[in-house]
């Protein structure tokens, strides 16, 4: 178990290093620099700026400098926000994004499990078909459209909730629902199909033969086994939540990391782009690690290995 953990940790560090390097190279190779959009600056000023931000140094030196900074949790200065460093910006916005993502995850799991169970329990009936139709609709509607629709309907037309804020819990409802919809739909469909597969297993037949009620068979016996593929998918699902949050933060004007990332890309604010990319990847690596650990705990077959 410990060896597995170490191996996974090492794998995660490799991923982080690859991402850091690739991002660094991509940004250095991309056409256009961070000072292009300003008014035509005299070459001496540009040279000065480049010297200040070490852009005139050879590539490998910039790279080492960057890596050294990361290890000390210093992501460098932002090219655009001159009064704040990247680390500071991330520290301010990360909690917001994490909160949004966490709420959406809880919401998605809470919505999808009953629906998936219901659909599998009443398989091939109208209820099942309705649930799966809802699931297909859920994954087909892009989250920015759902967000726009919710804003239009609930905030503008009905005036029940307000948007553009992130202070009290009422302002968190719409963004959370928007972000959670597609993952919830996906999880519901996945749960239903794994449950249906589990129903063919021998131990389910035994449970039924024992005379247990269908409800107990499904909820107690089949569900546990079906959770394994669902757990596996939680890793990539966290990725989807992270990236979905860019858009939701944009649509609802939430002061999270995603919004800064988008504007940083447009402004070519290299350090901010790289810092945010690394943080997102780190979160993802941790999520995958957690999933692997839980996997080993939940599935006894893996534990024994």
């Amino acid at each position: 178990m410990g060896a597995l953990l170490l191996k996974r940790l090492f794998h995660g560090l490799v991923v982080l290093w690859v991402v850091a390097t690739v991002t660094f190279l991509l940004l250095r190779l991309a056409p256009g620099g961070p000072f292009d959009s300003e008014r035509k600056l005299p070459p001496e000023v540009i040279a000065n700026l480049e010297a200040k931000y070490h852009l005139d140094e050879p590539l490998w030196q910039q790279y080492l400098r960057y890596l050294g900074g990361i290890v000390r949790a210093d992501f460098g200065p932002s090219y655009k926000y001159l009064d704040r460093g990247v680390t500071e910006i991330i520290a301010d916005t990360l909690p917001v994004s994490v909160l949004l993502g966490g709420l959406a995850l809880i919401c998605a799991v809470t919505i999808s499990f009953p629906i998936g169970l219901l659909a599998a329990y009443h398989r091939n009936t109208l209820i099942d078909r309705c649930c799966m139709l809802a699931a297909t609709l859920g994954i087909s509607l892009p989250n920015f459209l759902l967000g726009a629709l919710l804003i239009w309907a609930i905030a503008l037309q009905l005036g029940w909730l307000q948007v553009g804020r992130w202070d009290d819990w009422t302002s968190m409802i719409l963004p959370t629902v928007t972000l959670a919809a597609a993952p919830a739909a996906f999880l519901a469909a996945l749960l239903r199909s794994t449950l249906l597969e589990t129903f063919g297993e021998d131990f389910v037949r035994t449970a039924r033969a024992k005379g247990l009620s269908e409800f107990v068979v499904v909820a107690k016996h089949a569900l546990g086994h079906s959770l394994i593929p669902v757990l596996t998918v939680m890793g990539p699902l966290t990725a989807a939540l992270l990236t979905g949050s860019f858009v939701v933060e944009f649509v609802f004007a939430i002061p999270g990391m995603g919004r800064f990332f988008i504007t940083a890309v447009v402004d070519r604010d290299y350090p901010l782009i790289m810092g945010v990319t690394l943080i997102y990847t780190a979160i993802l690596v941790c999520a995958n690690l957690l999933v692997d650990l839980l996997y080993g705990y939940v599935d006894p077959r893996i534990r024994v290995q």
Partner: protein, 267 residues
């Protein structure tokens, strides 16, 4: 349901191909005196902030979205299937190493990579195709490799090898035709996924950025224009939104139907 989906896709394909001929107005048709009109007989979907007919813009937008969707799926299919075939067929440490690379790709947040790659390759259709294709191929690689590992066990493969068939022949002539099923299903799902990604990127402003292109404007960009005016002119976002949603939904339904046909286990 499946028939409705397939027919809608056919409609979108026709619209995309024949857009220049069936659009009531030209691509750049600005009419200043008819700004922001709601749907009417002259303009079935109304006009936008610059007086352009929305129906025309949506029809041309179909070209962009479909070309990105299909193009990405094809690129990912070609790259990923080839990769997966080689990995599964060679087996051993080759397979192990190649799949580690796939794992690393899988553990990256895809929207992030799209955005970064779009910086590198430019914000036009070609660049976006490359960026999206470079991320989506992994799905095909995994499926193809898994299928090859299963197909290798078939008796006729052993027979072909015993008869002296070259490795290339066994791969292309015996294994490949037997694994197309799941690969086609994956492809049918990767089209709407690509359309989703492209329209999302265009919506937040980092997607295709060719406002005067004669090929068309992405639906995502149209949706962004509409979003800004949503409070007063909801029709501007309603029509592109409906187009995006219906297209993605149709492809997903098609994929579900195909998957049920090929792999009836899930019923």
């Amino acid at each position: 349901m499946l028939r409705m989906a397939a027919s809608f896709i056919a409609i979108v394909l026709l619209a995309a191909t024949f857009a220049p001929w069936i659009s009531p107005y030209g691509v750049g048709g600005l009419q200043e005196e008819r700004l922001l009109e709601t749907p009417s007989w002259a303009h079935w979907m109304g006009t936008d902030g610059l007086g352009r007919d929305l129906l025309t813009r949506v029809l041309y937008g179909a070209r962009v979205s479909l070309s990105v969707g299909l193009g990405t799926a094809l690129i990912a299919l070609a790259l990923g299937t080839a990769y997966g075939l080689i990995a599964g067929f060679k087996g051993g440490s080759w397979d192990h190493f190649m799949m580690r690379v796939v794992d690393i790709f899988y553990s990256l947040p895809d929207m992030l990579i799209f955005i970064l790659l779009s910086l590198l390759f430019g914000r036009n259709i070609g660049g976006l195709l490359v960026a999206l294709g470079l991320v989506s191929w992994v799905r095909f690689a995994r499926i193809a490799r898994g299928q090859v590992l299963q197909a290798k066990e078939f008796l006729f493969v052993e027979g072909a090898v015993a008869l002296g068939a070259s490795r290339k022949r066994v791969l292309l002539r015996h294994i490949l035709p037997n694994i197309v099923g799941p690969i086609i299903v994956t492809m049918t799902f990767s089209i709407p996924s690509a359309i989703l990604a492209e329209s999302t990127l265009s919506f937040i402003g980092i997607g295709i950025n060719d406002p005067y292109s004669h090929w068309g404007t992405s639906w995502g960009t149209l949706a962004q224009d509409g979003y800004r005016a949503m409070r007063s002119y909801p029709h501007l976002i309603a029509f592109p939104a409906a187009a995006i949603f219906m297209t993605i939904l149709s492809f997903n339904t098609l994929g579900n139907g195909l998957r049920d046909l090929i792999d009836p286990k899930g019923r």
